[in-house]
Each structure stands twice: as C-alpha cells, then as structure tokens.
Symmetry: C2
Subunit: 251 residues, 2 copies
C-alpha cells in the first residue's frame, strides 16, 4: 500500500465543482474513475481545495491509496489516458502514508480574472468575468491591503460552510491591470467557502466606486456576510498553486 | 441602403467553420441570424476568411447591406445581444457600397499554436495543438525563411479549392519559442485552402527532424500537395488580424 499525491489541473466549466455529488459531473468522480480504470481499485481521493462549479485549477492536489505496482511519479501518465480532456494530472509522486493535503500547512494561490474592455474576447469567455464598467484599480489596491494579514474572515464566508474557525491568514492580495484586464491574486494559508470570490466581489465594488477602500476594516470587523460585497462569478477564478509548506517542490 | 463592415471574433470549437452549410452550425449563420433579429432583414454576409471547422478568429471580417437606421459603428453592440457567447462582433463601421473584403488588397495574420510540454494545460486545450515530441525550433526558423516571398503555393493547398491562381505572397513566417510553447506567425496577402495548416504541419516535420530545412525550396517547386507535410490540426490555428490595406485602422 502506498499513498500517491496528484497535481490536478482542470477547466471547471463543465463540472459541478471538485467534490463528488450524485447526478452531476465532478472532478473527484472523473479522477476516481480514471484510478479505477488504471488500477482496478475503487478508491476515494482526498482533495486539497473543493473548488466550486465553474472554477478552474492549474494546481489542485489530491491523494489516494493504492496497491498498484505503478511508481508514484508515473501515475500521471497512466491516469491521463483515462481522463476527459478538460482534466489533466500534471504530476504525481509517492508521499508518506499519513499525509493528507487538508491536514498540513499549505499555501494556496488563487487568481480572479476580470476583463473590462468594451466587448469581451470570446476565446477567453470561460476564464474571465466580464464587466464593461470601468474599475478604479488604485482604489482596489488600497482596499486589498486591508485584507492582508490574520483576520476573522466571517464576513467573507458564504453560509453552509462547516469550519471550526473562520480565522485565516492572507499573505498577499495583489491587484494588477494588464491592458483591459484586471487580475486579483490572493495568497493565503486557507480560504473559507467562497472567500476568494467574495474578496473579488468586494474589491469590484470598490473599483466601481460604490464602496470606499477605507471601509474594508469595518467590513472585516462586522463578521457578517452581508457587510461584504457580492460573490463574484465562478468562471473568473483559477486555483493557480497549492504548495505543501514542508514539502517545497514536491510536485 | 448602406454597407456595414464587421470585425468578428470567435472560438471555432463548436462550429463547422465560417461558411454557411446545411445542417451544421457556422459562424456565418450565427451572424446572419443576429442581423435578422436586429434589423428584421434576411441578408447574406460576405466574409473575409472562410476559416475551417475548429479554427478560431480574433479578427475576421464580413460586410452586409442594410436599410436599418442603426449607425454603422453601433451595430456591434446591437448584434452582440443576439449572438451566442462564443461569437462577438468587436467593431463595426460603414464602408463604401462597392467594398468587398475578398476583392480588395488585404493582409491576413494567422498564428498556429503548439504546446510541447510533457502534459498539456487543460485550460488551453481548444487553442493549442499538443505534441510531447520535442521540436527543433532553430531548424523550423530556417525552413520558415524559404516560405517567405511570392511563390506558387500549390504544394500547400488542399484539393477542393477553386482559385484562379495558387500564387500568393507571404510577407513573414516567424517561429518563436515561449517556454514550452512554439508559436508560428504567418502574414501574407492571401492564403489558399488549408495553406497555413499545411505550412504548420510541414514546419513541424522539420522540427521533429524528419525533414531538412533545405528541402523547402524543392517542396515549393514540386507544386504538388503530396510534397509538403501533413495538415496540422485545426484547433491550434487563430486568425489574428485582417487588415484592409487601403483602409488602415478602419476597425
């Protein structure tokens, strides 16, 4: 028996999110089905981030246990032959048998992508939230600074989450403008349910001029979902990186 | 009556090409249907490049005649409200009534996109041809130089094309490597049926080491489709730009 860690990339458009559920296509189901095809073993993978329907990933992680003789680092090639073309295992490796991606220190980096041109580019339609209203990027950058640090992020958490604490540490919130695109990159040790999309939705309210950057501390302090802005649409969100803190470079 | 010129962008994945045909979705049909919705007029658009099934465009062009009071430059907004989300009119403007995009001097720029990494990025699956074999980019660059200039490109034309001459002028063939991507940019005054994809397929043969760059003059001289390499898959091809030579900046 060994435990194998996977780096999973996917376009989330056609999926009802990462986590398995009845009567809906999920990333978890696709990967478990590929493992069954390759090993003959029915297994349950333990995922890193449970991304929502329509959210993409360049680097999510999952582990599973197997008695297969296939070496850990070869599993990616074997599984890709049995996965739909919008899901790829970019790397795989053996890890200690007690390793769990959600029970270790890790750093997740998300990017929220916004297109602000007059008319959106149809080649990027699944990966950008489109708004034809202008965004004040400097104001968004000011507001972003207040989000950095260790806070109780209850105001940035959708109902339905079961967590023991809503305190998280956000290492960085970067807002950049590239031509007509606005990119929000958020890095932290963990994120609550919908947290990155609520951060993006709140920063967009600031960008539209409907919320002053200086209001952010009050919003955090309120510890009330209603204090923050709306949840930004899923398709603009990409999980860019999922680093295991004490295993740098493992994938 | 006025003639309106459109700049059309589309993800070609779900379409059987630009040109209308029975029982298959086409870009032409989608645009004509949108014009009907907006103006109430049944019309036939005259397209610039008749891109194949699966080929994308950031800048194809088409004209149509209308009695609508909508100003030429406002048509893009009106039409986008009636188009599927993978087709967008990026700009529109009125042109002289005798203007036809295929009966004027124009410069088309295409890009063929190849991903050569170990495992492809699923977020880009519709826009890159994937090959895990390495490509010798320097050899491809040498071969590309032979394609530039005015030649009879019969060797680079699929059967079925009805053209009075197979002589075309290719202004530039650029091969660039960006990390694990190889990008072939081809600019010319006109292209034969499948010509850019056959150029890409032939340059890939060179990149794989199966064809010497110095063989290119012989291939051109042969004036025989069998002399060139295979037609590269459609999904890697994007029509980047369609400039009307005597109307710079019109769109």
């Amino acid at each position: 028996m060994k435990r194998v860690l996977l780096r999973i990339a996917y376009e989330g458009t056609a999926y009802s999110g990462f986590q398995i559920q009845p009567n809906a296509p999920t990333i978890q189901e696709a990967v478990e089905e590929a493992i069954l095809q390759v090993t003959g073993e029915k297994t349950e993978i333990m995922g890193g981030s449970r991304t929502d329907a329509g959210v993409h990933a360049l680097w999510n992680v999952a582990v599973f246990d197997t008695n297969s003789p296939i070496p850990g680092e070869k599993f990616c090639y074997a599984l890709n032959g049995h996965l739909p073309e919008d899901v790829r295992i970019l790397a795989s490796t053996e890890v200690p048998e007690d390793f769990h991606p959600r029970k270790c220190d890790s750093t997740k980096t998300y990017r929220y992508q916004i297109e602000t041109g007059r008319i959106y580019n149809p080649l990027q339609k699944n990966f950008y939230h489109f708004t034809y209203q202008g965004l004040d990027v400097e104001a968004m950058q000011k507001a972003a600074k207040y989000i950095e640090g260790t806070h109780d992020f209850k105001s940035f958490c959708s109902a339905g989450a079961q967590v023991s604490t809503t305190v998280r540490t956000v290492y960085e919130v970067k807002v950049e403008k590239e031509e007509e695109k606005v990119l929000i990159t958020v890095k932290g040790n963990g994120f609550l349910y919908n947290m990155v999309r609520i951060i993006a939705g709140t920063l967009m309210e600031v960008g539209y001029g409907r919320l002053a950057p200086e209001k952010l501390p009050e919003i955090i302090e309120a510890k009330n979902r209603k204090a923050a802005g709306p949840t930004a649409p899923a398709k603009g969100l990409i999980l860019l990186q999922y680093d295991i803190d004490n295993m740098p470079g493992i994938l």
